[in-house]
Subunit: 154 residues, 2 copies
DNA sequence: TATTGTTATACTCTATAACTATA
DNA sequence: TATAGTTATAGAGTATAACAATA
């Protein structure tokens, strides 16, 4: 238990942050920073940000989804989704078409190119995930996901 | 098990995001958004942001810490820590003094007022934590923290 | 009137380069 | 020459109000 000599002042070694580490929120933030960093590294070659990848993934699984449903699913504010889709559409990764049955709504679909990029990006995302949770067993990863999901699922 | 009728198209109900939910990173992000929101609600009355609270907490536990150690501990870039400390110092919550033994360094300490606010803020932070992980047992919370720590600890 | 989506905008967070003063 | 801290600034992420088109 007593493995290292007690530092005689706080700044001499590593700062004590036991108070923060007692909070789930702080641990969550710190882990999120790591995984975000791994993700960005690996997604750079695809020129995709996290929000952009998540849009492609959900549109791929839900072809013809409208922007309201997409915004709700991804917890993105509609104005921000609009500009996000502008970029992806300009890159030829997806299309927006007015819904003939309700001309207010836009039907969003991936192009072939978008679907292909999404496939490659998923592999990079899985790779980033693995790099970040490399020290967790498969069972621990499953458990972690289940615990996290309890926090954000209604 | 079969409680609701299967939707005949993706946009009719809730979007399928099983692909994203398979990633630890996405679950982490979604959980982080929830806890961040609870935290901000409860910290508003103390007029403290997350980074500000974390600074107060670490300085309280490490009186006389210098900014380099503080920046490293909290994973904040030094320029951003400088402006953060400017605000907290202007509010009379902490002091910066040049280290007489190395006049480049600043020794950071909480004022009495800062220590008092930090104490009240910690209660609010614990409360926010509880609100966010209310559906997890005590054992699950401990387990979640341990799993998260494995991700960001070297 | 309510809803979908857009534009414009502002605010926070984060990152980098260039500087100062000390060592 | 290297380090601690600062200033200035730019970029990304996020939030809100006001608007247009449609229902």
């Amino acid at each position: 238990m007593a493995s290292k000599p007690a530092p005689d002042n706080a700044a001499s070694d590593q700062a004590d942050q036991s108070e923060l580490l007692g909070l789930v929120g702080y641990n969550l933030r710190r882990a999120y920073l790591v995984i975000q960093s791994r993700f960005d590294e690996r997604m750079e070659k695809h020129d995709l940000r996290q929000a952009e990848f998540s849009v492609l993934s959900v549109v791929k699984s839900n072809p013809g989804i409208n922007q309201k449903a997409l915004a709700e699913a991804l917890v993105v504010a509609p104005p921000n989704l609009a500009t996000l889709l502008d970029r992806l559409e300009a890159r030829g990764l997806l299309t927006r078409q007015r819904n003939p049955e309700d001309k207010r709504a836009q039907l969003v679909e991936l192009t072939t190119q978008g679907a292909q990029l999404c496939g490659r990006a998923l592999k990079a995302a899985v790779n980033a995930d693995d790099a970040a949770v490399g020290r967790l067993s498969v069972a621990e990863r499953r458990q972690l996901k289940a615990l996290l999901r309890k926090i954000f699922t209604d």
